[in-house]
Symmetry: C2
Subunit: 421 residues, 2 copies
């Protein structure tokens, strides 16, 4: 399948992708929903006003909104119909948009001329801890090799509630937080700038349709509730975390900022890249066990790369290469577990994976692991080194699925560290 | 000060209180904001449409909304002006409303004829752990008397992010959650109904005006950001909590339901009941230390009572009497700490105190403590006993400040336990 819009083979945004986002044109009063193709954004407000979605939503306005929540709430049949309509409009053998210069001018905006916004109003944000390698690495640092994994880890996808208000879109600068830290364990704690600022390489999914309170989402229906995926950086103040997190978990160490990529890749675009997750032993309890044939295809082969560029570095340098498929717990298991006690999801809720570390040291998804809590500094070509993030560092996550001659990608999840205020 | 509306001396809602809530009349399409007085609700939509708030908000609609968020965002000067206008309208020496039968019929609804709703859209919900007695009791059960308090507890108000989507208003039934539990520590965990369902006696405050990301709220300005207070029951599945909470904190054990009382008591109504919190030793770090004279009046004397009524009990029985003033950390300290790393607050965010246990066993704020993890069952007059909550139990929290001849109260925060689904 091809589009009449030119897209290079290494672009993240060919016609096979068509992710959803919310963007603002400089002249517009409000942001609105769009679809990315190549270096252009298709303005869904224009498409909806022209009546192209009337067969799906009648006269209801769903996509000329400044968030995707309403569209998310419509469910997988509506998502598939809209995707089909948008795909058809962009195909090279369909003259409707291709040959209508006025409509093209109105509906297509160069990405360089728009500002990306958060794609949804996020009611609740949850962060899991689903990489066995990451949990093991952190466990070794805290408790030694023999007791690295907590007893519950292999039985349930451990997670916690995060802060929704401080989720920002890629490109937003992040200020180094101050906080209560205890650098000298024999002296009282002090309040000051974080000294061990870290990133965490994560991905996340947006809930589409939710569930009623007290009505869990069964594992075999969980994927139908997932609207799409983004990249996520769970910025972390390690020294704050160390002092505050017992017994109720991370709090200020995480809630100063969380960055997500702006384009939500729909699950339909990811379908060709399904693959098997790591084997699960012990076998999951029945409420976490997908039916017989699905486990072999219950995760996705998504290549991930993290780059760091310091202020005095001429270009970004890769510091980590990982893959979403390394995760032990699947998204369906996370969602089934999250609702298993009756917790209700709402359209636009965001569930993150936890740090995605792979089996080799160059696939670890945080500075804490890459530099092994400071013991193995990362060296850069200009002679600098890092154990944690420095002011001025730009940290970027990229992710894509590699098809034959095309990529379905997530673009970039990027942020620069500002000095403490 | 008196109102032309009859209010009995033991009512929670005299003219000195005037809390805000959101209610729905049976014939109305949507809920709207109101003020409680005695057994009546003053409909603020009617009052706003009649132009009484024009001097505060001009032509902007602020109170004819189905949530209080917009009003919350306006700040303490606007809150004070609206309170003054509503107080004046309800005074017995002001004929404006008193003698206008048509306006009274339109603007005043009997509480028995309306349905109460959540008062605000809660963007983020945080739960603290600010009772020294509660933290000590739980610590003794887990670690013994000598290590009861964690090393960080006296240095910072420990807290964690909770689930906003499952906050419900008083009167909503709560279904006993299922979850992963491990009743036999030598056998694998199982999935099934919670066996040790608990309540937690808490209070909470709503944030009025928020702060920008990266811009902490200083301790001395924190109170000006607080809109008002409610009662809160943090329903807890203790067996789920025990198995899941290490290392990232409580998750499914808490997120199935959290109940709040419907009326937000404004800080102005609580001002006469200011008092001193417990002494803090070690002295708090500067960012948590209020200026010299304020600590002596930085908390509030709010009497709290918890009652339980089983299905076969003819009436509710008091199982706990406590007081908000027992809390070690103040609301101003909680808010200053929460934002101290740059986390941004938004109007309508809810910050809860944590379980409010007092010094004596009859003032403990949870079944876990009252029945000391099952070792001292609570006996009831009809011969029943409880170690945790049973299906059909109605758990209610009441709270009030006792003035001379009047009460400023919070009404009730109540919910009945339904059997697991």
């Amino acid at each position: 399948m091809r589009s009449f819009i030119d897209v290079s083979p290494d672009s993240h945004f060919p016609i096979q992708n068509l992710p959803y986002g919310v963007f603002k044109r400089p002249e517009a009063e409000k942001p609105c929903c769009g679809v990315r193709i190549g270096d252009l954004v298709l303005d869904l407000r224009v498409i909806e006003h022209r009546g192209f979605f009337r067969g799906v939503f009648g006269d209801e306005h769903v996509l000329c909104k400044w968030s995707l929540n309403k569209f998310m709430s419509k469910g997988p049949a509506a998502w598939a119909m809209v995707r089909r309509i948008v795909t058809d409009l962009l195909r090279d053998d369909n003259p409707t948009l291709r040959d209508d210069t006025a409509l093209r001018d109105e509906a297509l905006a160069p990405i360089s001329q728009v500002t990306m916004c958060l794609p949804a109003e996020i009611g609740d944000y949850t962060d899991f801890y689903s990489s066995r390698e990451h949990a093991t690495n952190v466990g070794i640092m805290l408790r030694g090799k023999d007791n690295a994994l907590q007893p519950n880890w292999l039985w349930l996808p451990v997670g916690y509630h995060g802060r929704a208000s401080s989720i920002v879109v890629s490109g937003t600068d992040v200020r180094r937080p101050c906080g209560q830290i205890r650098p000298d364990e024999k002296a009282p704690p002090i309040y000051g700038p974080c000294r061990t600022l870290d990133f965490e390489l994560e991905m996340a999914f947006f809930v589409g349709t939710g569930n009623e309170p007290g009505r869990p989402i069964p594992i075999d229906r969980a994927e139908a509730h997932i609207f799409g995926m983004v990249l996520l950086n769970d910025w972390s103040a390690r020294d704050v975390q160390k002092w505050e997190y017992v017994p109720l978990g991370p709090f200020l160490a995480k809630n100063f900022a969380t960055t997500i990529s702006p384009w939500i890749v729909p699950m339909q675009a990811l379908a060709p890249f399904r693959c098997a997750p790591p084997p699960q032993d012990p076998p999951p309890l029945p409420y976490l066990a997908a039916s017989a044939d699905s486990p072999a295809r219950s995760t996705f082969d998504i290549r991930l790369e993290v780059t760091l560029q310091g202020e005095r570095m001429p270009e970004p340098h890769a510091i980590c290469r990982s893959n979403f498929r390394y995760l032990y717990w699947t998204m369906a298991q996370q969602l089934a577990h999250h609702t298993s006690g009756g917790c209700n999801m709402r359209p636009g809720d965001l569930l993150a994976s936890g740090t995605i570390s792979g089996p080799t040291p160059d696939s670890y998804g945080s500075m804490l692991e890459l530099a092994w809590r400071g013991e193995r500094p990362l060296a850069f070509p200009n002679g600098e080194s890092r154990t944690f993030l420095q002011d001025g560092d730009r940290l970027s996550i990229a992710g894509w699925c590699q098809g034959e001659g095309y990529r379905v990608g997530f673009g970039e999840c990027s942020g620069r560290v500002l000095p403490a205020g």
